[in-house]
Amino acid sequence: MIGRAWWIPWLWLAPTLALLGVFLVYPSVDTVRRSFLDERSDNFVGLDNYQFIIDNPTPLSLDTHAALLNNLLWLTMFTAVCVGLGLLMAILTARVRYEAAAKAAIFVPMAISFVAVSVIWRFMYDIQTDVGTVNAVFAELGKDPVAWLISTEAPQKAFLDVPPNDTPSPFQVNNFALIAVGVWNWTGFTLVILSAGLKSISKDLMEAARVDGAGEWQIFRRITLPLMLPTIIVVTTTLVIQTLKTFDLVWVMTGGAFKTDVVATLFFKAAFINRDFGVGAALAVVLMAFVVPIMLISIRRFQVQEEIR
């Protein structure tokens, strides 16, 4: 800007930069530093902590493999179901008169804190039929109650008695039960954003397609989906970052027990219950490593958008 000193923008940025520096940059650097030190952060141990994560020597105490696999399951299932359901509902609600009410109803869970959601669903999943709504419904339908948060059986066993009895590690009933709660909470978010994206598609385009004889599914595949792709990508990126941060939901509902641990609950246990700051920091670094590529993609897209302007 002509006539302005060069340092004025920096002056405006200074408070934010200071806060970021103290609460973001310093802890991140310190965490990476601690991941190379031992439990009380006294001595250098090189890559021992990362070796611990790879070897998983004490699965009963800190099951690193289960946590990583669970995180992958959350990443894929939570994001896919949330975006898919959000898209479906965006399209459906656009066609009814009570659209605003429907969207509000689906969005309400977003207004509740994660901890409150976890407590509510802990009661819903309770094994006693006079407390747990889900099991009460099952009892009405004549089926046995299922220990939703505890059972590590294959998911279909809860509904139908078909083999296999046990599926590989992350595909457990309790994981899916937790993901269901997460989806219940976040679908409102995807719905609202995708609905806005849907509305930005010109009506004339759809009309023209219909006039040309395109069926609904074709309209969806050829017009809606491609035009909504940027919005879908934004929503997906946000959800992926959100899912990697998942802690309160798992912690309040199961405390990470019964192999429902995710990396966030695991490093909390390692650092603050087992007082092993080395392993805790290493796990936190692994989590950061997962998030960094997503962040880079986000930033690139943002830069591309800026260039277009």
Binding site: T58, D126, L149, F258
Partner: protein, 439 residues
């Protein structure tokens, strides 16, 4: 732009004001959060406040506050209490951040021993007269447990016996069953269970669920069996590491526990999944329902408090009672009190809560067994509480709760191990190896 700013500006101002007010309100709260009225009378000298981190909430907290009130009234001090079951994480974080509380009152001594060894605690001798009082009024066993490297750092309050099996005396009398005694054996317990099973009622009720400690009732059961079947020396060996968890005696104790929990029809819960999912308090109630859904339940002495709360018309001794765990050996837990500094306020506070007069207040309120030998045994509110206090003080063999004594990640691994074992008993060997590996 001016059109927007004239509409938005007042709104922004309001928002800012709201945020500022919220911050002010939050900062005005005590760091305690959960405590009730703690206003000191204005005419007493004010010696400041003491910051205490403990595990008590609800009823227990109300009783503790009643215990502390005379101190607040006479010295003008202020109790700032934060009760959380997540105390290990809280303590660890605060100590790491160089902001420890003044006093901590947890139930496990593993972390206490770590802190003491690292020199973070204030020895009780730094408080005038306190160490002498403790060594004079508390049983040797408890004084030893509070000593690390020859220095006394902590004392115990609110002890609990874990050698109690609760039952409904009316049901036993009506069916000609005799409760066991300390001289009975584990085989007698199985025989009694089979007898009850033949009457058509599941002999046991059991719940393992607990926030942050799922599996702890199972660990209590296993350590009781271990103490009574293998003896005090083996028990001590497991604590100090000379006896590994993979030892035959330990494995036998687990398998006996499995016999009770997993034999067909033995538990009213039915399957391991339901046992794991049932909250430990809910697991205590079935024998006292009308009609009873089970005959016996194993739980520490504090269960009498839940039973009395859940069944307000139940009379102690007639509607609910306990018989000692067969074998005579008693394990028990207790809250340990230790301090991070020896400021005058802290010392005055410790002095008060260690005294028999203060602890008598909680004894009268019920649900509290004191370890101070000056507390009158006959002052306990009902026969069950009295019997528990007697059991604690007269036990032939008494040991501190095993996982509380070791603490740390071995404790949490032990808990997880119990639920894993119940879900799949064939994995016992690998579970035991895993627990031992964490030591």
């Amino acid at each position: 732009m001016t059109r927007y700013s004239s509409r938005i500006f007042p709104f922004l101002l309001l928002l800012l004001a709201g945020v500022a007010l919220t911050f002010a309100a939050c900062n005005d709260d005590d760091d305690g959060g959960d405590d009730g009225p703690t206003d000191a009378p204005t005419d007493a000298p004010d010696i400041g406040s003491v910051d205490v981190l403990g595990i008590w909430g609800d009823d227990e907290l109300t009783s503790f506050e009643a215990l502390v009130k005379p101190w607040e009234d006479s010295t003008g001090g202020d109790l700032s209490f934060l009760g959380t079951r997540d105390i290990t994480a809280q303590l660890t974080t605060r100590v790491e951040g160089n902001n420890p509380p003044d006093v901590a009152i947890p139930a496990e001594i593993g972390l206490f021993q770590d802190f003491a060894a690292e020199g973070l605690l204030a020895p009780l001798s730094e408080c005038p007269g306190l160490e002498a009082k403790i060594t004079a009024n508390y049983p040797d066993g408890f004084v030893d447990l509070g000593t690390v490297d020859g220095t006394l750092y902590g004392f115990f309050m609110k002890a609990d016996t874990k050698g109690t099996i609760f039952y409904d005396p009316a049901y036993f009398a009506a069916n000609n069953l005799t409760p066991l005694t300390a001289d009975s054996s584990f085989a007698d317990l199985i025989a009694l269970s089979d007898e009850i099973l033949a009457l058509g009622l599941p002999p046991w009720s059991m719940g393992q669920g607990a926030n942050g400690g799922t599996g702890f009732p199972g660990t209590d059961f296993i350590q009781q069996i271990l103490l009574n079947e293998a003896g005090g020396d083996a028990y001590d060996g497991v604590i100090d590491g000379s006896v590994p968890f993979t030892d035959a005696d330990v494995k036998d104790a687990w398998e006996k526990f499995g016999q009770i929990a997993l034999t067909d029809g033995y538990t009213s819960q039915g399957s391991a999944d339901v046992i794991n999912a049932t909250n430990f308090q809910d697991g205590v109630f079935p024998p006292f329902e009308d009609p009873p859904e089970a005959a016996m339940t194993y739980m520490g002495g504090f269960a009498s408090g839940f039973i009395a709360d859940q069944f307000p018309n139940a009379v102690a001794g007639t509607d609910y009672d306990f018989f000692p765990f067969p074998g005579g050996g008693v394990t028990g837990g207790s809250n340990i009190v230790y301090a991070f500094n020896s400021d005058p306020t802290t010392c005055s506070f410790l002095d008060h809560i260690a005294s028999a007069d203060a602890q008598q207040i909680w004894v009268d309120l019920g649900g509290f067994t004191s370890v101070n030998s000056n507390v009158d045994a006959s002052s306990y509110p009902d026969v069950v509480a009295q019997a528990q206090a007697e059991q604690l003080t007269t036990a032939e063999t008494f040991r501190f709760d095993l996982d509380d004594a070791i603490g740390g990640d071995l404790q949490s691994t032990f808990f997880t191990g119990v639920t894993s074992y119940l879900a799949d008993p064939s994995t016992l060997d690998s579970i035991l190896a895993d627990i031992e590996a964490v030591r």
